[in-house]
Symmetry: C2
Subunit: 329 residues, 2 copies
C-alpha cells in the first residue's frame, strides 16, 4: 500500500487540518468530536448538516459554505461518524430554524444520524439520499445506496435554505430532488482502505465492476472491459429505466470521477452520455464533470441524471461558495 500518510491513525486529523488551513476563509475545524462548520454562523436559516465516512472527498467537507452545507461530520475512512459529532455540529450551527440532516442511505450513517436526531432538542428532519439504481439492497444498506446524486441534493436544498425557507419546506424539497435523481457507477480498479492495507476487491486486468458502490461494494455484475460507449449505454439505460423521463425532459448531467480516472476520460464519458441522452430525447441544460464523490484512489466513474424543473434549476443555479463548488458570486 503506497499512500501519502504518516501514521494510519493520524491520517484523518492531518487531512482535516490541512483542509482547514487551506480554506480558513471558508470553514472552521473542530476536533474531538470532529466536525467542520462555516467560518461564520449563518444568518437565520435552516441549518444543513451532512456527514459520512471519509475517503469520498470533496464530499462533504468541500460542500460547506454559502449556498450549501452549514456543517459536516467526517467519520474515519468508510466509517460512519458518531452521534456526538452530529450533536456538536448541530449545537454549533443551529440558530432557531431547526436542523436538516442530509444522510446517504448506509445502515451505519442512518442509525447514527437517527440517534443524534433523537437527542436533539431543536426541530429537525432528515433527507436520506438513495440515488444509486445499481442494486436494490447492498452489503451496507437496506434499500438503495446514496451516491453522487447527494451533491445535487446538498446544492439545491442549500440554495433553498438560504432563502429562509422553513424546515418542512427544505425537507420536502430535498426528498423531491432525491426522487428526481438517479446514478450508476463503474469501477476499473479497487480502492485500498488504509487500515486494511490491501485492495477491497480484486479485478482482473481486463475486468470491470458494473454498478459498483462508492466503498467498493459489488454492483450488478463483473464483466470484461468494453469500450466507453458500451459502458455508458448500460449506465444511462439503467438510469433512464429508473427515472422514466418524458420526451423533451430537461436534465442536469453529472459525470463524477472516483479519483483514479483522468479528467480526459471523464470528458469521453460525458461525450458518450450526452450523445445518448440527446438521442433519447433529453435536453441537457446543466452539466458538472469532475471528482465530487470519490472512493479513495479507485479508477472509475458514475453517471448521474437529475430531472430538472423550474424549482430545481433555479436552486442549482443559485450562488454557491464552497471549497469544491463555487459559482455566482
Amino acid at each position: 500500500m503506497k499512500k501519502f500518510i504518516n501514521q494510519i491513525d493520524d491520517m484523518l486529523v492531518e487531512s482535516l487540518s490541512g483542509f482547514a488551513a487551506a480554506h480558513k476563509d471558508l470553514i472552521s475545524l473542530h476536533l474531538d468530536p470532529n466536525y467542520v462548520t462555516r467560518i461564520q454562523k449563518s444568518r437565520q436559516k435552516v441549518a444543513l448538516i451532512s456527514g459520512g465516512g471519509s475517503g469520498h472527498e470533496p464530499m462533504h467537507t468541500g460542500f460547506i459554505g454559502h449556498g450549501m452545507l452549514d456543517a459536516a461530520c467526517p467519520g474515519h475512512v468508510f466509517t460512519s461518524p458518531t452521534p456526538d459529532q452530529m450533536l456538536a455540529a448541530a449545537e454549533a450551527v443551529e440558530n432557531g430554524m431547526g436542523v436538516l440532516f442530509i444522510v446517504k442511505n448506509y445502515a451505519g450513517d442512518v442509525m447514527n444520524f437517527e440517534m443524534a436526531a433523537e437527542m436533539l432538542s431543536c426541530a429537525h428532519a432528515t433527507v436520506t439520499t438513495c440515488d444509486d439504481v445499481a442494486v436494490e439492497n447492498s452489503t451496507w444498506t437496506t434499500g438503495r445506496r446514496g451516491v453522487a446524486g447527494t451533491v445535487i441534493v446538498e446544492k439545491c436544498v442549500g440554495a433553498l435554505a438560504e432563502t429562509g425557507a422553513d424546515l418542512a419546506t427544505c425537507k420536502a424539497f430535498g426528498d423531491k430532488v432525491n426522487r428526481h435523481t438517479a446514478s450508476m457507477g463503474v469501477a476499473l480498479t479497487s480502492c485500498t482502505v488504509p487500515a486494511a492495507g490491501r485492495p477491497t476487491f480484486e479485478l482482473a486486468p481486463d475486468e470491470l465492476e458494473m454498478g459498483v458502490g462508492i466503498h467498493g461494494e459489488p454492483g450488478r455484475r463483473r464483466e470484461p472491459m468494453r469500450q466507453a460507449d458500451a459502458i455508458v449505454a448500460d449506465l444511462v439505460g439503467a438510469i433512464l429505466h429508473d427515472l422514466q423521463p418524458q420526451n423533451g425532459q430537461e436534465i442536469l448531467l453529472l459525470v463524477n470521477g472516483f479519483t483514479g480516472t483522468p479528467l480526459m476520460e471523464l470528458y469521453v464519458l460525458y461525450h458518450a452520455a450526452a450523445k445518448l441522452l440527446e438521442q433519447q430525447g433529453m435536453k441537457i441544460s446543466r452539466s458538472l464533470v469532475g471528482d465530487y464523490v470519490t472512493s479513495l484512489e479507485m479508477a472509475g466513474a458514475s453517471i448521474t441524471v437529475c430531472l430538472l424543473d423550474d424549482e430545481i434549476r433555479q436552486h442549482w443555479d443559485a450562488p454557491v461558495h464552497t471549497a469544491a463548488l463555487r459559482w455566482g458570486r
Copy 2:
C-alpha cells in the same frame, strides 16, 4: 490497459467534444486544426494562448475564460501541438494588442511555438515556464521543465492582461511570476499512454520516484516508500533551496495532484508542507489544493511555492471564470 475510451485515435476529439459540450457557456471548440477559445472574443487585450500535449487536464483548456487564457491548443497525449493549431488560435483571438504564448519548457512545445511565432504577422512574445527544480535537463527538455507552476503564471498574467496591459508588460510579468515559482513532484505509480498501452515506467510496490516529470520522466532518484512528512521535507527543501526566500516571505502554496491520489491525501501533504514552510519562516497567505496539472492516471503529487508580492497577489486574487478555476465573480 483499462481506460474509458472507444478507439485510441478518437480519444482526443471525443474528450474535447465532451469538454466543449459541458462548458458551452464558456468555450468554443474548433477541430482540424484543434484549438479551444473563449466563447466570445474578448474586448481589446493581449491574447493569451497556451497549449501542450493532452493528458494534463484541466491544463490548459480548463483555464480558458475571463481572467486567464483566450485559447489553448491541445496536442495528442503527451505530444506537442503543431504550429497550424497555434496560428489558427491566434487568428481567432488576436484583436490588435498582440499574442502572448505561454509555453511549458519541453523541446517539442518550444520548437512548435517558435515556428508559429515566426509565422505570426501580429506582435507576439513568449513566456516559457520552467518551475520544476527536480532536474536541470531531462529527457524532453533543455533546461528545467515547466510543471504545475504554469497554472500560477497563466492565472496571474491572465489577470494582468484583462487590465489592458500591453504585450511587453504581460511578457515581463509572466517571466517574473515564473522566476518567483518553484515546484517538485513525486510519483507513486506510473501512467499509461493510451497509444503505448503499457506503463511508461515501472515502480515496485514499495518504491517512489522523487522529482518525477509530468510525463513520467525520471526525477532525482528512485527510493523506498516513506512517510508523507519525510517526502514533503525533501520536496519543500529542494524548492526553498532554489527560491532562497527571505524570512517572513509571503507565499502561495499549491499542492497539485497528478490524478490517482485521493484528495484526502493531498490535504495530508498540504498539512505537512504548510507546517514545514511555517517553521522555515514562510507566511502562507494563498492556497490551492487539487488536480490542476495532471499526468493521465498517475498517483502522485507536486508541491509548488510562489513568492508573493503585492503585484502577484493582486493578480492571483483577481476574478477568474474558467472550467477549472473560478472565483471573484
